[in-house]
């Protein structure tokens, strides 16, 4: 569609740009940045110890992988991430379903929930650190919180959004209350519920990092980066950034695949954000 807007002028632009094939265009910027980086090191544009050569980052990466340090840190981060996510998401599902199904429940607990939700997630950490210490328990609690809110909200909306039309069909077919819930309400709400779970995954990963920065005992990729920062090891930090990005990407990708599989019945592509 964007092409429709730009049709009048692309003729001349494409004449110029035609030398760079479309598939390669995406690489220009990253390659240029890396070249710039390499040049900065090679020609000594800066004397700061932070300007580490590209090769050093690579060497550090290799070392981290070989020594198993990456494995230790990443697995620690991931298991906490998934544990917290699973806990928060499942509690969130139950709570969100209750909110959606029962008007009374919503009236009793809804306002309190929405108020507590206003508190920015990370503001909870200091309190959690007092109540649960600085170790894994505290982190998992915090991560559950991070996953809890988006799941509740999306589950609630999904359930409330079940079309009355379909509920009438269930009445005509004499479904029991349980059958209505399992066969009509939950399937109909599933796109929204999945969106909530996807969001929860994103937030949980974000929270994992934050938790590791703030609740410093233990191992994790966030701790690795903090290490690097405190020792001015730029290469380690950059390595950490790349790993974090890759994990984020992978989690996202997995979630999208699962979503598109289970929600194939929707027919149209679900917009990704």
């Amino acid at each position: 569609m964007a092409d429709a807007i730009t049709t009048p002028t692309t003729r001349s632009a494409s004449a110029r740009a035609v030398r760079m094939p479309r598939a390669l265009r995406g690489w220009v910027l990253p390659v240029a940045l890396i070249v710039l980086w390499w040049a900065a090191v090679r020609f000594g544009w800066s004397t700061s110890p932070l300007l580490v050569p590209v090769s050093k980052v690579w060497a550090t990466a290799v070392q981290q992988v070989r020594s198993g340090a990456l494995f230790v840190a990443l697995s620690a981060s991931l298991w906490r991430d998934l544990a917290g996510f699973a806990l928060g998401a499942s509690v969130g599902l139950v709570f969100g379903t209750a909110l959606g199904l029962s008007r009374l429940f919503e009236q009793l607990f809804g306002p309190t929930f929405h108020t507590i939700k206003q508190i920015s997630l990370f503001a909870w950490i200091p309190l959690i650190s007092v109540w649960f210490g600085l170790g894994d328990t505290a982190k998992v609690v915090f991560l559950s919180l991070a996953a809890f809110f988006p799941v509740v909200l999306n589950t609630f909306e999904g359930i409330r959004g079940v079309p009355a039309d379909l509920l009438e069909v269930a009445r005509v077919l004499k479904y029991s209350r349980w059958q209505v819930l399992l066969r009509v309400v939950l399937p109909s709400a599933s796109p929204s519920i999945f969106a909530g779970i996807h969001l929860a995954l994103i937030y949980a990963w974000l929270a994992t990092l934050g938790a590791e920065y703030m609740l410093v005992s233990g191992k994790g990729i966030g701790n690795t980066m903090t290490d690097g920062r405190e020792n001015f090891w730029m290469d380690l930090v950059i390595f950490g950034v790349i790993v974090v990005g890759l994990v984020g990407f992978t989690l996202n990708w997995i979630a999208s695949r699962i979503e598109s599989r289970l929600l194939a019945w929707r027919g149209r592509s679900v917009a990704a954000f």
């Binding site: 990253p30 409330r160 509920l167 930090v237 990005g245 984020g248």
Partner: protein
Amino acid sequence: MAANDSLALPRPASAGAAPEHGGKAQRHWRPGLHHAAWLLAWPVPLALLLAWYVAARFAWIPPQVLPAPDAVWHTLAELYQSGELQANLAVSALRVAGGFALGLAGGLALGVAMGLSPGFRDYVYPTFKAFSQVPVLGWLPLLMLLVGIDEALKIILIAKASLVPIALNTYKGIQNVPTRYIEVARVLKFTRWQLLSRVVFPAAAAPVWNGIRYGLTHAWLALVVVELLASSEGLGYMIVYGRQLFQLDMVIAAVIVVGAVGFALDKLLALAERAVLRWRKPGL
């Protein structure tokens, strides 16, 4: 009626009950339940408050772990009277405002550029996408090394936090403007500028607005984190300070203020949304 009613999900009470064309069933408007809704909101928070008060009063939990509600209240009042609260609040607010403004401008510019120019998109989008895979917090140690821990760090982090969702949503919003509107504009011989200002931007307004909402939420999130980690003033700092001195009343007071700000931001956004998107059918 009762047995079948339980199969019905709670619906926003519809005003009229008379079926019109097609005779779709409408729920009767029950005024009693509506007004009671306001009252029902209170039992849970009040019960929690009571439990808190009792627990603190009878020292079931040491005050360093759970201060009494009135202690929190006093601290809040003190902070307000001494002006400390306002000062820290102002610092935080300014940071968010500055960072968000930067992120907003950058995000809109980037999103529009990617949306309108396929060439630009081809070069920039992959890199942008790669960068956005790293959550805001992933950049923190790197940025700390590069720019230290004063204002620049906070502004940059907040800007980055808001820039990504805004740019992404703006780009998608422009991309998804239905071709049929563009065709109408072509038939009516709109100039390029008219096409953009009269068709593309209004049509993309809703997703762009969504992005802005996300951006503000993330900006606020980033602010709190960065103030918790690397700040000597601001709301986040207040929380950490209280924590380190084991003055939990201060911590809780500051957390309450953080929540209040979050709430205010939400309301502000809702108001602005109503103004900006007046033409949309409600509930979309």
